[in-house]
Structure formats: structure tokens, C-alpha cells
């Protein structure tokens, strides 16, 4: 991954109001050169609005945007060193594939026709579309259209490439194939890239860093594993993957470990390291289902275990998710791999024990 720590794109305190309602609230981000950066969030959280401000289609109500150290907030879209791949691809229907890719180059006076032709065939080669140069967009399949759109937005060698829901128009199977392909192309070109998606799997697969957005605000920024393993809020923990969250009270505070109690559990929860909160503080404790082990007999530990009855099992092929109902009525998810076909399986209404290590739980302050 070709990235230096030099910021290519800087978003400073950017807000956007639509008739008084904030769609984006005081967002600040710094995106490094050569990085693939994903804006991830649910519907209506302001991702597209933020991206459109980067492209210049919306003006920020407050704040500024810098590219390569230059403030571009007041520059109109057609003069920004930024290109966008639209969710609908927005391929010009009356132009061939080659004309679509050449469009941006033709807007600059500095190229002669021969140069443009060479560049177009080079780009079409890059996205493996050279055989389709003379086709019209409506004669292409979804994946082919996407590759043309990508080539078109790379043609002007933008300093920042923007992707709006890049896989949104593709079906599921094609999606995972194209995710890797698009990343390969972007990395081959080495362009800095900001993408918008509501699909966490897509963000995790494609991006070097992810920022989770919620109601116009940035909740957390980090690498995919940081976001997954160390969520800093209930919202992020719940949005990325599935999670069990217990409401807990801090009961014991030591430098190298802490204990919490939850009304849902009989045993205390133990987490490694100290917690940045006073005794008696109300916090959330998040535990991912795959970090929970299941057994028929009581584990030989004092902390970090619970017991309940299997209420539901979701068989997902490679693994199964068990929904265990506790005495308090709370349901806890645990994951089990299906590695033996003839295994004596845990089934509905079986009493089971769940336990986890003291490195598995994450404390959520908000």
C-alpha cells in the first residue's frame, strides 16, 4: 500500500445545512496521499452530501476543504483537481465508451488528438475494456459500465478520486469480484481515493481507513481492524458486524484489570487494563459473538461466563449463530463453527454455558 503520511485532502470543520437542518456537522478529516478512505454510515447520515462538497456540487455552509494544501472551497466543480465516479455511473448515453473516457481530456486544451487516443486506449487497457471502445453504454453489462466509469474518472489523473457507492448498482456476486478489481486498479494508479458506502463489508474489503458517520458527524476513524476490534461507541460497535452489549457498572478498578457487574449476568465481567472512569460508572460492554465460546458444562472460571438456554440457531453454512436466552430475558449471540458434520450438535432448548477471555470485551463509554 503506497501511502505516505502527507495529507492530500484536508477537511476542516465542514458543515452543511439544508434549509436550517444540518446534514453534515463540523466534520474534520485528514486523508493521506495514496490512501483509500471510506465514509461509512447508514442511510441519510450525510455521506453523499460530504462527497458532493468535495466534488463541488454543494457549497459548505461552514469550514474549508484543502487539496494538496490549497483551499478549493470556492472553486467550481469543473476546475477542481478531483474526479468522481457516480453511483449511477452517469455514462453519457450518446457517446461511445472511448468518447466517454476521452471527455475529460478534451476539456483541457493542452492535449492533441493523438495523445488523447493513446491515453484512452491505455486507460481502457487498464480496466480491460479495450475491445468495447466503440460500444455505447447501453450495450454494456453492469460490471463493464462500472469499469468504463472508473476509467473515465481516472483519465484526468485527479489528485483525489471520489467513489459514490461504487458497487451500489451491481448484484451481490459481481460486487465482491469488482471490489478487489477496483482496489487493484486504484492502487496500480496510486490515486488518493475517498469512497462512500453503507456496506461495512465493502468498506472493510476496499479501504485502508474507514470513518464511521452517524447523523452528520464522524463517530470514529481508523483501520478496518481498529474499527472492528476497538469500537469507541455503541453506534459503531452495532453498525460494524454483530455484537452483544451489556449495560454494566464499574465495581473494581486496578491498573492491570478491572471488573464490572451487569444485572443480566451472575458472574462479573473482567477486562484487561484499567478503565478511564470512576468506580460506579455506568458503561456498556461489547463482546463480539465469535469471541464467545460455548460448552455444555460449566467452565472452570469465576469471571466472564454466563448460562442460558438455546432459543434459536441460525445455520449459515460455515458457522452457526446461537441465540442464547438468559434468565434476565436478554438474548446473547455466540458463534460456533461447523467443522464436524457428525458432531453431536447443541440444539434448541439445550442449556449451555458461554464464556470469553478477558481480552475479548470492549468498554464503551458512550
Amino acid at each position: 500500500m503506497a501511502q505516505s503520511n502527507q495529507a492530500m485532502l484536508e477537511i476542516r470543520q465542514v458543515s452543511k445545512l439544508f434549509s436550517g437542518v444540518a446534514a453534515v456537522k463540523e466534520v474534520s478529516l485528514s486523508i493521506n496521499k495514496g490512501e483509500i478512505f471510506a465514509l461509512l454510515g447508514g442511510s441519510g447520515c450525510g455521506k453523499t452530501t460530504l462527497l458532493r462538497m468535495l466534488a463541488g456540487f454543494e457549497n459548505p455552509s461552514a469550514g474549508a476543504i484543502f487539496i494538496d494544501g490549497e483551499d478549493i472551497s470556492q472553486i467550481p466543480p469543473h476546475k477542481r483537481p478531483v474526479n468522481m465516479m457516480f453511483q449511477s455511473y452517469a455514462l453519457f448515453p450518446h457517446m461511445t465508451v472511448a468518447q466517454n473516457v476521452a471527455f475529460g481530456l478534451k476539456q483541457e486544451k493542452r492535449y492533441i488528438n493523438k495523445e488523447i487516443d493513446d491515453k484512452v486506449s491505455e486507460l481502457l487497457g487498464l480496466v480491460r475494456m479495450q475491445d468495447f471502445a466503440q460500444r455505447k453504454p447501453d450495450q454494456l453489462s453492469g460490471g463493464q459500465r462500472q469499469r468504463v466509469a472508473l476509467a473515465r474518472s481516472l483519465a484526468k489523473q485527479p489528485k483525489v478520486l471520489l467513489l459514490d457507492e461504487p458497487m451500489g448498482a451491481l448484484d451481490k456476486k459481481l460486487r465482491s469480484q469488482m471490489q478487489l478489481e477496483v482496489v487493484d486498479i486504484i492502487e496500480a494508479v496510486g490515486v488518493t481515493c475517498v469512497m462512500v458506502t453503507h456496506d461495512q463489508e465493502e468498506a472493510m474489503t476496499m479501504a485502508d481507513r474507514i470513518s464511521v458517520m452517524h447523523e452528520g458527524e464522524i463517530m470514529q476513524v481508523g483501520t478496518p481492524s481498529e474499527i472492528y476490534e476497538f469500537p469507541n461507541s455503541r453506534h459503531t460497535a452495532e453498525f460494524i458486524g454483530s455484537v452483544n452489549i451489556f449495560d454494566a457498572t464499574l465495581t473494581e478498578l486496578n491498573p492491570d484489570y478491572s471488573r464490572l457487574s451487569s444485572t443480566d449476568l451472575t458472574a462479573p465481567i473482567q477486562v484487561e487494563a484499567g478503565i478511564n472512569a470512576p468506580l460506579g460508572a455506568q458503561v456498556g460492554v461489547a463482546i463480539r459473538p465469535e469471541k464467545i465460546a460455548m460448552s455444555r458444562t460449566q467452565p472452570n472460571v469465576t469471571d466472564n461466563w454466563l448460562t442460558g438456554v438455546v432459543e434459536d440457531i441460525a445455520y449459515l453454512g460455515g458457522h452457526s449463530v446461537y441465540y442464547v436466552k438468559l434468565a434476565s430475558g436478554k438474548r446473547v449471540m455466540a458463534m460456533g463453527t461447523n467443522n464436524d458434520r457428525h458432531e453431536q450438535k447443541v440444539t434448541w432448548q439445550d442449556p449451555v454455558y458461554l464464556h470469553w477471555s478477558n481480552t475479548s470485551a470492549v468498554v464503551l463509554y458512550q
Binding site: G56, S88, Q139
Partner: protein, 275 residues
């Protein structure tokens, strides 16, 4: 929905088409009538076409109407397209409500009101500004442009609304300034709508009797005005012959446009596509 509905629909549709086309068919048949009586058949003849082609007043009026219709339709397409862009693409601005009212009202305004009001405007302008000096082709053209613009705006704006706005954004994103986006992207994509808008405006202008009667002056008689004064004197097979020619021209024109549109459509779906 069951067969009862569809067979009822078919019967009704057939009756509807008979109602729409029978009068035109009868006109055409009697244009070949030998007799001057338009309703009694007296043998086949094409003499009324001959007479029509020698009627210099009629031909002159037809040429006048044609010129006005051509110029009015062309101007209306320009104004109507601008109006559509204002309504569909420019969001809210002060005076937008007034603007859309001025676009929709001419669609339904009774012709006698439009005609009278424009005439009074031209008279008042001539009095105070000295322009337009006389009434004639120019005043008819202005009147026709005004009401045709509304019709063009309806046709074009419906196409513009269907058009994906991100195509225009993509072009701007790739470095085209707004005027270039319009000419390179928007215009080619909405071109078929401009064509239908032009044809609609052309026919409306060609067809107008009432407004032209108000705003025309001596020496600028349009075809509908000649036809009207002629039918007021009684039925004439010459008018039937004229009707036949108009029907022939109009239907070949429309059918051709339709066929071209169909061909363009079928060509573009030659290959299977994923949507």
C-alpha cells in the same frame, strides 16, 4: 383483470377510433367528388386539386402560414427549452411561482382572450413606442411564439425531468463549464423532445385562426383565415382537397418521426444488458 374488461375496452377503442377518423375519411373521399355538392357522390375526379393549385390567394396564404410556423416554432423551441431548464434545474428563486404560472396559463387560455389582449398590446405599443409600426407577419409571429413556448416547455421539461441529473454533474466534474455541459450533454440527450416540441409548435402555429385574426393586419392573411372565410360562404370541395393534402402531409410526417424513434429504440436494445 379478466377478458370482460379487455374485450369491452377493445370495442370502446374501436368505436373511439371510428369517431375520430370517419369524419376525416369522409372529407378525403369527397375531395375526389366530381360534383360541387360535398355530400352527394357524383363520380371520381381530381379537378378540385387542380383548382386548389391555381388558387393564388390560397397558395400565398399557405406560404405565409408556413413561414410564420417555421419561425415561430424555432423561436418557441429556444424559449421553451430555456423555460424548462429554469423550471426543472434551477431550484427555487424569487418569482418562480409567477414564472410557472406564465408557462402553464397559456396552455388553457381561451384563444379569444389571448388574441384580444395581444392586439391591444400591439396597438398600445405602436402608440407609445412607435413599434411595431404595423400589424402583420411580425405580430403574428410574436403571438405564436408566446403561446407555443408554453407547449414546448411542457414537452421538453418532462424529458428533462426524466434525464439523470448526474450526467450533467459528471460532465462538470470532468472539467466542462456549464455552457459546454448544456451543448455537449444536455442538448443531445433531450434532442428528441426538442424535435417533438418543434413539430407541436409548428402545427399549433399553422393551425391557429383566432389569435392570428386578431393580430394580423392587411396583407398578412394566413391559411386558416382564408379557409375560414371560404367555409363561411358554404362547403367547397376545394377545402376537402386542401384537407386531404394536409392530412397526408401531417400523417406522413408524424408516422416518419414515430418510425425513426422506434428504430432508434430497437437499435439500442440489440444487445442484452444488465440493469
Amino acid at each position: 383483470m379478466g377478458n370482460k374488461v379487455s374485450s369491452f375496452g377493445k370495442v370502446f377503442l374501436t368505436l373511439g377510433f371510428i369517431f375520430l377518423y370517419l369524419p376525416i375519411l369522409i372529407l378525403i373521399v369527397f375531395s375526389f367528388n366530381e360534383s360541387k355538392l360535398v355530400t352527394v357522390w357524383a363520380g371520381f375526379s381530381t379537378k378540385w386539386y387542380g383548382e386548389l393549385l391555381q388558387d393564388s390567394q390560397m397558395l400565398g396564404a399557405a406560404w405565409m402560414s408556413f413561414k410564420i410556423a417555421f419561425l415561430a416554432a424555432s423561436a418557441a423551441v429556444v424559449l421553451g427549452t430555456m423555460a424548462s431548464i429554469i423550471m426543472v434545474r434551477m431550484g427555487q428563486f424569487k418569482g418562480k411561482v409567477a414564472f410557472t404560472s406564465m408557462i402553464t396559463a397559456p396552455l388553457v387560455m381561451p384563444e379569444v382572450i389571448t388574441g384580444l389582449s395581444l392586439l391591444l398590446l400591439f396597438v398600445a405599443m405602436a402608440q407609445t413606442l412607435g413599434w411595431p409600426a404595423g400589424r402583420g407577419m411580425l405580430t403574428i409571429w410574436i403571438a405564436h411564439v408566446t403561446f407555443c413556448t408554453a407547449f414546448v416547455a411542457v414537452v421538453v421539461s418532462s424529458r428533462l425531468r426524466e434525464m439523470d441529473a448526474s450526467l450533467e454533474e459528471a460532465a462538470r466534474d470532468l472539467g466542462a463549464p456549464p455552457w459546454k455541459v448544456f451543448f455537449l450533454i444536455t442538448l443531445p440527450i433531450i434532442a428528441p423532445a426538442l424535435m417533438s416540441g418543434w413539430l407541436l409548435a409548428f402545427t399549433l402555429s399553422l393551425d391557429d385562426l383566432v389569435i392570428a385574426s386578431f393580430v394580423s393586419g392587411p396583407g398578412s392573411t394566413t391559411l386558416p383565415m382564408v379557409v375560414y372565410s371560404s367555409v363561411r360562404l358554404g362547403l367547397s370541395p376545394k377545402i376537402n382537397a386542401l384537407a386531404t393534402i394536409i392530412v397526408l402531409l401531417a400523417s406522413t410526417g408524424v408516422l416518419m418521426a414515430w418510425w425513426l424513434a422506434r428504430r432508434a429504440e430497437t437499435q439500442s436494445v440489440k444487445l442484452p444488458t444488465h440493469h
